[in-house]
Symmetry: C2
Subunit: 243 residues, 2 copies
DNA sequence: GAAATTTTATTTGTCTGACATTTAAAAGTC
DNA sequence: GACTTTTAAATGTCAGACAAATAAAATTTC
């Protein structure tokens, strides 16, 4: 691991990048212990606080983990799907909220991705996943459910659909898109009539998955997307004409 | 912004989380200036190095940026699609390489997502994007191209396809999946015969996009996925029987 | 009076040195 | 040999200091 002389950039950022490169290139492998902070400060010719700032940067990306005590130190972390997943949700959520992404754009992306999973899910969904989806549909039918709880259940339902594809890479990618949409979805208030409609479409999806009918799943998803966008439009229109 | 007392967790991690929550919940808005490090150490009752470690964690996630000098400080950063994109590529790449994700799984995910973009791209692709794809196809036909350059061109080609959908959220999600696959793709060595086949399919895709024919794009992509997986299988088989 | 220059204050970046806390291994005790 | 105590190594935290960058204020100059 070499030094990388460059002005006008934080030393801690440079050191973090050097270690990051070493991990990505495979020079440092999973569970390998990095040199101690004292050794790193020697090696890079900087003080320990600077090294620590660099290590914290890497820890924030789940690239390393640290342990205290003798035989402790910083270790290269095996990034788990959960780690990656939660990072993606945070990033995607902020990306949507900070960049004024239109509801239509986010919605289109989400359903496009979800429809990509549907055929695989129709083929492979487990009985367990199907049961989860039915349970969520049941919950959604409870009249005293808050809008937030309804949306949370909606997310669970769609996550099960995605997980049904049995492809962890797909699940990881999609989870971000689906969950990041939730704050936007929460802005749509659901009338009893709207919920009925959504639940009916969810049931159609579950039925189609049970029958391993990929085409019917797709049709229902297209319908659901259309309906979701219509709801958003209605809400937007009401905002313009509050009288 | 309150304190959150909890033992057995780094103070810097707790402080980072508190600020992160404030950003996500909207209590801190884009371009707003955080209190100075001195003020934050007062507010949280910790030392400045501890505050700095917390801030570096947030900087690593592009949640804040810092400026030196008078009227400098830490500012809430508007996460750009590029920021999010590069983070996603890093995470996805490590996720694939560290977790022994099979080539088939990664390949399936990638093509499933890409096929989700195809109909939109067939509808909306710009002339410019089409020209980029043609240019990449031409480059891929150069006989003296290294395998790495061929793969890089392949990534560019597919990125253009995805960007053609004209949906930045889709582009951001997909870019990670496509680029993270490149190291895996690099492990497949391409014979002249294989390249021809791939280029032919790329041309089919470009032609179909030019004709706005979504179905033909999909057919070609399915074909390309099949061929890619076959190539990977052949390579794996050769490894088992090197004689 | 206006423009250019200098000064000043503020803030982050970095360093030194120290102590606290945790943890595993070594040493000691029964 | 099993248990307890000690020790050493490492991260976590703190305090105080100086360097460097930068914008605003004060001063000088014409």
């Amino acid at each position: 691991m070499k030094i990388k002389p460059q002005k006008s950039v934080d030393l801690s950022a440079q050191i973090a990048q050097a270690i990051r490169d070493a991990i990505i290139s495979g020079k440092l492998i999973v569970d390998e212990r990095l040199p101690s902070e004292a050794e790193l400060s020697d090696q890079f010719q900087v003080s320990r606080p600077t090294v620590r700032e660099a290590l914290k940067r890497l820890a924030a990306q789940s690239l390393i983990r640290t342990q205290r005590g003798a035989s402790g130190g910083a270790f290269v972390n095996r990034i788990s799907f959960e780690d990656a997943y939660s990072q993606q949700v945070t990033t995607s959520t902020l990306l949507l909220s900070m960049n004024a992404v239109s509801f239509d754009t986010a919605c289109e992306a989400r359903f496009a991705l979800e429809r990509a999973c549907a055929p695989l899910s129709a083929q492979r969904r487990s009985a367990d996943q199907l049961a989860t989806m039915r349970a969520e549909i049941f919950r959604q039918a409870q009249p005293d459910l808050t809008d937030e709880a309804f949306c949370a259940s909606d997310v669970s339902f769609h996550r099960s659909l995605v997980d049904g594809a049995g492809n962890p890479v797909l699940s990881y990618q999609l989870a971000g898109a689906v969950e990041a949409m939730q704050p936007l979805m929460n802005m749509i208030t659901f009338s009893a009539r709207s919920r009925e409609e959504i639940i009916a479409l969810h049931s159609q999806i579950a039925d189609a998955l049970e029958a391993h009918d990929a085409h019917k799943v797709d049709v229902a998803l297209v319908e659901l997307e259309k309906y979701t966008r219509k709801l958003a439009q209605d809400v937007a229109q009401q905002h313009r004409k509050p009288a």
